[in-house]
Each structure stands twice: as structure tokens, then as C-alpha cells.
């Protein structure tokens, strides 16, 4: 199956490109930082370690996936490998989705590796929920990075767009809360700003409800909240894949 072959080649490229080493370095960074800061904490040292490790590893997983997807895709475009592949009798959708599947598996492997150390601080069930959510988050980021890399065809703009989308998605909840808070101005301009923020929120996934550190420190989420968070991410990844397919079919390569 061409899609499976493409996915496998993506995984091989990630392995040979040093992604496992970068993942290991991320683990060392997260654990080292947590160990250092917990020495100065007067209380909640274990909670501080868990919170810090989870936050650092989540950021590293997202960054590594975005960088891997963008660099791999742009290298393929620059080396004319994409043109060669498209000259083969393989549907464009197979090509695009095969690549995406490979990147999604990369992200899932990173999520699994990064969830393991958290067993030191949290029960296995809660760590598993956190890890699965991170896998869905990396899948979303992979879909976004692939879309931007194919569309923009330049490394810095593609990474910037992916990072911008991701950071906005993580902070839109807080932005909405500020816009509708008790100190927000009840003027026409204030209301327009609120509506503008709400309109932007409609176009973004709610990442502030996903891969939460609170699941590790306190209690597991309810089934409804968890399902809602994962469903939202998978839906947005599907939207990005559909947008990417649409753009890819329009390309005159």
C-alpha cells in the first residue's frame, strides 16, 4: 500500500534525522529543570516537579513535531522529490494522507515516550489519559505544520504560522475571559472587541482544555470533558487535513 510505504519512509527519516536524540535531550531538560527547581521549593516539591516536567515535555513534543514536519516537507519540495512522487500513478490524497499518517505516528511515539516519566508522580490511568491527549495534540500540530509547509513553502513562515496557531489556540480561553471579564468596557468598541475575540475562537481548537496538568496533580477529568477535548482536537486535525488536501489538489506541480 503506497500510503503505508510513505508513512514508513517518514518514520525512517525521523529516526535517521536524530529525532530520538532530540526527544532524549527534551527528557533530560525537563527532568533536570524539575529536579533543580524542586530543591528550592519549600512545599509541593513533587507537584512542582510533575507540573514542570509535564509543561516542558508538552512544549517539546509540539515543537519537535512541528519542526520535523516542516523541515521534512520543505526538504522534499526543495529536492524536487515531491514532483517525482507526484509523477507516479498514486492519487494525491494517498500521497498527502500517507505523509500525514507518518507524522501522526511520530507524534504518538513522542507522546508515549514523554508520558512515561510522569508515572513517577501520577497514577498510570491519569498518565495514560494525559499521554493520549498529547498524542491527539501532536496529531493536530502535525496536520497544521503539513498544511502550512505545503501552502507557504518556506521554513520560517510555516513554523511561525504553526506556532501562532498553536499558541493562540492555547490562550484563546484566557483571552475570551479577559474580554468578557467584569472590568471589560461596556462600550461599543468593547463589545466589538468581545465579538471579534468570540469569532476568532470559533475558528480555533480549544487546547486549554486538553493535555491538562491538573489531570496529573489532582483528579482525572470527567468522561464528558475528556471526550470533548479529544473530539475537538481530532475534528480540527480533520479540518486541517481537508484544507491541506484541497490546497494540494489545486497545486500545478
Amino acid at each position: 500500500m503506497p500510503a503505508a510505504i510513505l508513512a514508513r519512509s517518514i518514520l525512517l527519516e525521523a529516526r535517521r534525522g536524530g529525532l530520538p536524540w532530540l526527544a532524549a535531550a527534551s527528557l533530560v531538560l525537563g527532568l533536570g529543570l524539575a529536579a533543580f527547581l524542586s530543591q528550592v521549593a519549600l512545599t509541593e516539591s513533587l507537584a512542582l516537579q510533575a507540573a514542570l516536567v509535564a509543561a516542558v515535555l508538552r512544549a517539546c513534543a509540539v515543537f519537535l513535531v512541528a519542526a520535523q514536519v516542516t523541515s521534512s516537507t520543505l526538504r522534499e519540495i526543495d529536492d524536487k522529490g515531491l514532483e517525482l512522487m507526484l509523477s507516479l500513478p498514486v492519487p494525491r490524497a494517498t500521497h498527502y494522507l500517507g505523509r500525514l499518517a507518518g507524522f501522526v505516528v511520530c507524534g504518538a511515539a513522542l507522546a508515549a515516550a514523554f508520558a512515561l516519566p510522569l508515572l513517577l508522580w501520577a497514577p498510570p490511568a491519569q498518565v495514560a489519559l494525559w499521554g493520549l491527549s498529547l498524542a491527539c495534540e501532536t496529531a493536530l500540530v502535525a496536520a497544521a505544520a503539513l498544511f502550512f509547509a505545503m501552502t507557504l513553502a518556506q521554513f520560517v513562515p510555516a513554523i511561525a504560522a504553526t506556532a501562532g496557531l498553536y499558541l493562540l489556540a492555547r490562550s484563546i480561553g484566557a483571552i475570551q475571559a479577559i474580554a468578557t471579564g467584569p472590568l471589560a468596557e461596556a462600550t461599543v468598541a468593547g463589545r466589538l472587541a468581545q465579538h471579534a475575540v468570540d469569532a476568532v475562537a470559533l475558528l480555533l481548537p480549544r487546547l486549554d482544555g486538553a493535555t491538562r496538568t491538573a489531570w496529573l496533580l489532582y483528579e482525572a477529568p470527567s468522561a464528558l470533558a475528556y471526550g470533548w477535548a479529544l473530539g475537538g482536537m481530532l475534528l480540527y486535525a480533520l479540518l486541517l487535513a481537508a484544507a491541506g488536501l484541497f490546497d494540494f489538489h489545486r497545486r500545478s506541480v
Binding site: S45, A51, L167, L207, L217
Partner: protein, 217 residues
């Protein structure tokens, strides 16, 4: 490779090392405490990692020696708003900043603990219990201590609150010195499972030793 390139590299590296070695890291002064961010800004800046941000803010603020009260309370309040279930801000308030020779400063911090206790009495009662102890033994203000004890009895009634917390006023009125009272309270907290963090246990042990040294036992 041209020699001047190697020379430039060696010189600039040496200059960098000398520059950093001569600028000593000074302990941060009270005047350096920055104005606390609004809680919403802290939540926004944390990008959803509220638990890490609240605790990191506390590790940051505890690096200041004798911070001024208004910005200190602002930081503690912001951290509590960011992660209401973290005990770190109230731990710092009750066990670090309230234990002060300046009575007015101590009163200000204890009143902060009391205000925050009212928002979540079932979780935050241990800090008000310590505040009651300080009010009695450090401020010598028994009416204030009784007020705090009565607040715990009245409001901390959840299933996780141990029975002895509901008799806080009797505990406060017992004729014992600060060391005995502190030992009993810490033992009770340990027995109830309220205190279990290794760093906190270490801190409490050091505090008891300091108290023993002061009282001369």
C-alpha cells in the same frame, strides 16, 4: 585558518568569562520586587499551564529577601487565582512571611490568610490554624486567635477535614507554649495525611528545631 580568527575567538571567549565572573549575583532586595501581574495576565502568560505557572511564581517570589507587603500579597493572590488548589501561596504566607518580628506586617499577612481561607475553607483550614497559633503566641492576641479558630470550626466542615480541626478553639485556649502547640499541630497534620510533601516535612522539621533553640529546650 587565519590566525586572527583564532585569536579573536580566544579573546572574545576570555572576555565573556571574565565579564560574567566579575559581575556578582546579588541577593534581590525588597525594592526589586516587581509589581504583581493581574491574575488574568498570569493565566494568559502560562498558555494553559496554570499549575506550573502558579508554583513557579512562588519559587520566584521567595527569592526576594523581605519583600514589601502590598506587592507580596498581590503575587500570592495572583498565584491563588491561577491555581486555586495549590497550597504554596498560603504556605508561604502562613509559615514564612507571617513569622515576622514586625507585628503590623504579621497581622497583614494573617488577615490575608483569613480572607483566602473563606474562599475554600475545607482545603485551606491548615493555614488558618497556623495563623491562629501565631496570633496567640507571637502577637499575644488571644481574641484574634479565637476569631480564626472559630472561623475554622464554623466553615471547615467538609468530609476531608479531621475532627480535631472542629475543636480548634479548645486547642488555642489550652495552656501550652508555642513549641508544644506547634508539635501537636504538626503531628496531627501528619496523622491526618494533610502534610506529606518531602520538602514541606523538611521545612517543618527545621522550624521545630529553630523553635526549640529559641525556647532553650
Amino acid at each position: 585558518m587565519p590566525r586572527w580568527v583564532l585569536g579573536l575567538l580566544a579573546l572574545s571567549l576570555g572576555a565573556q568569562l571574565s565579564w560574567q565572573a566579575t559581575s556578582s549575583s546579588r541577593a534581590t532586595d525588597a525594592a526589586d520586587v516587581p509589581h504583581p501581574p493581574p491574575p488574568q495576565a498570569l493565566r494568559l502568560a502560562s498558555f494553559g499551564e496554570h499549575e506550573a505557572a502558579a508554583r513557579l511564581a512562588m519559587v520566584y517570589i521567595q527569592s526576594f529577601r523581605s519583600p514589601e507587603l502590598p506587592p507580596l500579597l498581590g503575587w500570592l493572590r495572583a498565584a491563588l487565582e491561577t491555581d486555586p488548589r495549590s497550597h504554596y501561596p498560603l504556605f508561604l504566607a502562613a509559615r514564612v512571611y507571617a513569622e515576622n518580628t514586625d507585628a503590623e506586617r504579621t497581622r497583614g499577612v494573617l488577615e490575608f490568610v483569613h480572607q483566602e481561607f473563606r474562599r475554600d475553607p475545607d482545603r485551606r483550614w491548615p493555614w488558618l490554624a497556623h495563623a491562629a497559633l501565631l496570633a496567640k503566641h507571637r502577637l499575644k492576641d488571644l481574641p484574634l486567635a479565637r476569631r480564626y479558630a472559630q472561623a475554622i470550626e464554623r466553615s471547615a466542615t467538609g468530609p476531608g477535614v479531621p475532627l480535631w480541626a472542629g475543636q480548634m478553639e479548645i486547642f488555642i485556649l489550652e495552656d501550652m507554649n508555642e513549641l508544644e502547640a506547634a508539635r501537636i499541630m504538626i503531628a496531627s497534620l501528619l496523622e491526618s495525611g494533610v502534610v506529606h510533601d518531602p520538602a514541606e516535612l523538611r521545612f517543618l522539621k527545621e522550624r521545630l528545631e529553630t523553635l526549640e533553640g529559641k525556647i532553650g529546650r
